[in-house]
Amino acid sequence: MKKVRPMLHVFRNKPKYATVRTNKASQDTAEINSSHSGQTGDPQWTRCDNCSSLIYNKELYKNHFVCHHCGFYFRMSALERLQLLVDENTFQPAEPLVSVNPLDFPGYPDKIAQCQNLTQLDDAILIGEAKIEGYSCVLGIIDFGFIGGSMGSVVGEQITRGFEYGIAKQLPVVVVSGGGGGARMQEGIFSLMQMAKTAQAVGRFKQAGLFYLSVLTHPTMGGIYASFASLGDIILAEPKALIGFAGPRIVAETTRQKIPPDFQTAEYALRHGMIDGIVIRSEMKATIGKLLSLHL
């Protein structure tokens, strides 16, 4: 067993040590290494997962990663999402943490290294302090490209520290979730326990009277949905995002019933009372800003 940091270490308070390109800049450098869906191999072009149109990346950036042919929402990497949401040069990332291999699960370290390469992230989360429409907040973004956006010890710890930092600095927290299965199998029971740890972090944050906005993107499932992601004071979702606990295939196999056509979509969740609203991608930043302004 590796010795781990036992207690509430909040975000570093040092000045920012990393900068993130803004929307404007990224339009000129569309070949940013990225893990959004539809990659073609050519850094200039992306293929629509839905209508198969080839889209010039500059266009895709301009259109917030929405296909202008068919309206399909591309899955965005955490870095792309960050650019979409935060005010220019305002993001200060948290102290970086990396996974260990607590179960000595075969192949796990390689997988981590691979994903770090692909996503340019230490783990499946990008988190830090940021400004959105001028309002300061803690912003966390789950990256699906990193082992399906699953929550191991690093994601759990970073989310928890994010809420603790929010309490310490009296800041609202915004988390953009998008994890496939939720749990990180390779960390076994440690992964499961992050559900408790993060849910408790949300609980303490709420007791401090602060505002937590949860934004669900495609897909938010399993242990991520069943912990911090569904505990927002307000929960928003992107259109058609898959939201649920059990995966649709497991549901189909278990129940052998006909699955409703929009099962587990954001629209389904809204109809069944589970989320507060659906917000289109181009309006997400303004909407988050507005909600932050209503909770000063």
Partner: protein, 327 residues
């Protein structure tokens, strides 16, 4: 027709032989005392060998033995009295979760747990012990009630997982698990969770946040079932035994990891071979742990509970030199 595991077979055969010999001795009136003692000793040795050597997968199968006591069996075995309470006051009464007020040494406690059926008919009523959201909402309601009356809460956990059904998803299975976890964390009464059989992922954790987390010797607790893990890793459900090995889901592993506080040893051969003995064991462990946490002041109880989970996680801080990558 009782289920006999392959590793139990030599033992069962030997036990049968001893019984036959004993009958023979009784009928014939001859003195075979020494031979019988030898055989008993041999059986004891065999038992110990078998049950010390059990693989994780064998222990998973022990946890699923059809004759293993269910939650209601345990309640009868452990407590003096039980008044069952029903319903979530919202939508339904999920029979896959039972709960109510029980009496332990004259003191009322709230007991809650998923309930499997013993046969097909019962399993249909109990949905094979797979709770819907209303089952978790019932659990939460009873836990909040327990808090109002300062009753300790005992959860008995034996659940493959939350039910992965259409209606369950529709009514917020994920959301209710999150709510249970969050709210259980802040309840100002002592909580003891005992994983008695299967501890399947979020469906178990939803009622698994406590001041003491105990586990029966042959129970398992994991983020994913061995079968599903095998399917994901090797697209082969038959390799579940290998997955069980990787997942470190036994009481031995989890005690070592500090996830659980104590292992309730089962009578040799497992709980299914001796219900009463298992009940007595749980009761003894329960008494000891409960009397310990009853002494902790309420506000500290919650603080300790939160700190316990806050500490869980295995990671490293990245060296700063490595972080100077321009994002």
């Amino acid at each position: 027709m009782p289920t006999i595991f392959e590793w139990e077979k030599p033992l069962v055969e030997l036990e049968e032989k001893i019984q036959e010999l004993r009958n023979f001795v009784y009928e014939q009136g001859i003195d075979f005392k020494d031979e019988l003692n030898d055989l008993e000793r041999k059986a004891d040795k065999l038992r110990k060998e078998i049950y010390e050597r059990l693989t994780p997968w064998q222990r998973v199968r022990m946890a699923r033995h059809p004759d293993r006591p269910t939650t209601l069996d345990y309640i009868k075995l452990i407590f003096d009295d039980f008044f069952e309470l029903h319903g979530d006051r919202r939508f339904g009464d999920d029979q896959a979760v039972v709960g109510g007020i029980a009496v332990l040494d004259g003191e009322p406690v709230t007991v809650i747990g998923p309930q499997k059926g013993r046969d097909t008919k019962e399993n249909i009523v109990r949905n094979f012990g797979l709770p819907h959201p209303e089952g978790y909402r019932k659990a939460l309601r009873l836990m909040q009630q327990a808090e109002r009356f300062r009753r300790p809460i005992i959860t008995l956990i034996d659940v493959v997982g939350a039910y992965p059904g259409i209606e369950a998803e529709q009514r917020g299975q994920g959301l209710v698990i999150a709510e249970c976890i969050e709210q259980m964390s802040f309840l100002e009464v002592p909580i003891i969770c005992i994983i008695t059989g299967e501890g399947g992922s979020g469906g178990a954790l939803a009622i698994g946040v406590g001041d003491r987390i105990l586990m029966l010797e042959h129970a398992w607790y994991s983020v994913i079932s061995p079968e599903m893990c095998a399917t994901i890793l090797w697209k082969d459900v038959n390799k579940a035994a290998d997955a069980a090995e990787l997942l470190r889901l036994t009481s031995t592993d989890l005690l070592k990891f500090g996830i659980i506080d104590d292992v309730v040893t089962e009578p040799i051969g497992g709980a299914h071979r001796d219900h009463e003995g298992t009940g007595r064991q749980i009761k003894a462990f329960l008494r000891r742990h409960l009397s310990e946490i009853r002494k902790v002041p309420t506000d500290e109880l919650v603080r300790f509970r939160l700190e316990r989970f806050r500490k869980i996680g295995e990671y490293q801080t990245k060296k700063l030199s490595e972080t100077q990558v321009e994002l």
